[in-house]
């Protein structure tokens, strides 16, 4: 995963963060997704401005995990979001 990428949430996605968890509706797929707390943290930062490297650093600092672990988890998560067209390159 290229950490210099700055991915953005799918602009068609409607989402609300409630009780620390993001509920996301993708109209083109008519599907409802729920992210856990860490996933919601990452989702909230996929604004097309922050790079993945920045997000990895923020995850590592906030959740007190090693940079390698954060990198691995964020990469896997973002790959799943890309596959489901929930994020895209701006």
């Amino acid at each position: 995963m290229d950490l210099s990428l700055a991915l953005a949430r799918n602009p068609n996605a409607a989402y609300r963060v409630y009780d620390g968890k993001a509920t996301i509706v993708l109209p083109e797929h008519a599907a409802v997704h729920v992210l856990n707390e860490v996933g919601s943290f990452v989702w909230d930062r996929l604004d097309g401005q922050r790079t993945l490297a920045t997000i990895v650093d923020e995850v590592a600092a906030t959740y007190e995990v090693s940079p390698d672990q954060a990198h691995q988890d964020v990469a896997a998560f973002v790959a799943a979001l890309l596959e489901q067209k929930m994020v895209r390159q701006p």
């Binding site: 409607a14 509920t23 008519a30 599907a31 998560f77």
Partner: protein, 325 residues
């Protein structure tokens, strides 16, 4: 640490379609016929000059362009929901279609009920096999073209279109239309939701002495007294027609899960939001409506408890529900 994304549920649409439509063969048309601007407008014919005002929850729909026979038939079906006043939410003008179908359904082939939509500025056009409707969102006027003047195709087209309009308009009033059964016991509404096959109809059949608002689609409305549940008259042929046009304070939402024993557990707010959002029909194909739907559901979840209800096919679930309330 782990991140995850989980697809909870596809928001519900219509059921499957297994019927045949021989009229399309007669015309030699074997493909979809999307509506165009010629299908709508003030110069398109109507069936007649009769009208009927329907009211349910905060919604007032005025059906216009009816023939005398259509008005009489609709009064038979919807008479309980006839309204005499209130601000009209939208006017729907009915008239015959120029074509035998809009979407084509190959006879004998099962397919999930399809419905297409197109938004052009302030105009929203919806069409399916037996209807095409164009709504001027700002003027609150809709033009509905039906392939039959009465009968099964007419009823299905009319009711499906009105269901979609209802689902859209109730969002503006802070509520939503839920794929769920509504049952009133001791003056309080219990809402049971879940996808097709979850047990909504079963639950209503296990409650013979209670007031059933719906076994399929229940309207959740915001009132000065709090959130209330109401039925809508558009049950199609195979769904329960509400026994009351009134609305009732909601005791709880209950997500149905069939099990060997009865058990009820409260859902965490975020999960409750997602589970209910996954059962909002018709509105989740549009980003703005999805966002509004999420807001409305979040507000409801804040005020009304949402449970996961494991139940077996007898009336014992009522013991758990009424004890808790």
């Amino acid at each position: 640490m782990a991140t995850e994304t989980e697809v909870l549920r596809t928001p519900q649409g219509f059921g499957g379609v297994g019927s045949t439509s021989p009229e399309s063969q007669a015309e030699g048309l074997y493909s979809d016929v999307p509506p165009c601007s010629d299908d709508f407008g003030p110069f398109c014919p109507t069936y007649g000059d009769h009208s009927l005002l329907l009211g349910f929850g905060p919604i007032r729909l005025r059906l216009e362009g009816l023939s005398a026979r259509q008005a009489a038939l609709l009064m038979q079906r919807y008479g309980r929901f006839r309204a005499t006043g209130g601000r009209v939410t939208a006017r729907v003008r009915l008239g015959p279609a120029r074509v035998p179908h809009f979407l084509y359904h190959r006879p004998g082939v099962f397919e999930r009920y399809r419905m297409e939509r197109r938004q052009d500025g302030r105009t929203l056009t919806l069409w399916s096999y037996e209807f095409a409707g164009r709504l001027d969102v700002e003027a609150r006027k809709a033009d509905l073209r039906l392939v039959e003047p009465e009968g099964v195709l007419h009823d299905r087209g009319l009711e499906n279109y009105l269901r979609v309009l209802t689902a859209s308009f109730v969002l503006e009033a802070g509520g939503f239309l839920l794929h769920g059964a509504g049952i009133v016991r001791d003056g309080k509404a219990f809402v049971f939701f879940g996808p097709s096959g979850a047990g909504k109809t079963t639950i209503t059949q296990l409650s013979p002495d209670d007031l059933v608002l719906s076994d399929d689609l229940t309207l959740v409305v915001r009132t000065p007294r709090g959130y209330e549940a109401a039925g809508i008259p558009f049950g199609l042929a195979h769904h329960h027609v509400p026994e009351s046009a009134g609305s009732f304070p909601i005791d709880s939402f209950n997500m149905l899960v069939q099990a060997a024993a009865v058990r009820r557990t409260e859902l965490a707010p975020a999960q409750a939001l997602a589970e209910i959002a996954g059962c909002l029909p018709f509105v989740m194909q549009d980003t703005a409506q999805s966002a509004r739907g999420l807001d409305n559901v979040a507000n409801v979840v804040w005020e009304v408890p949402v449970h996961r209800l494991e139940f077996r096919k007898d009336a014992s679930f009522w013991n758990v529900l009424t004890e808790a309330s």
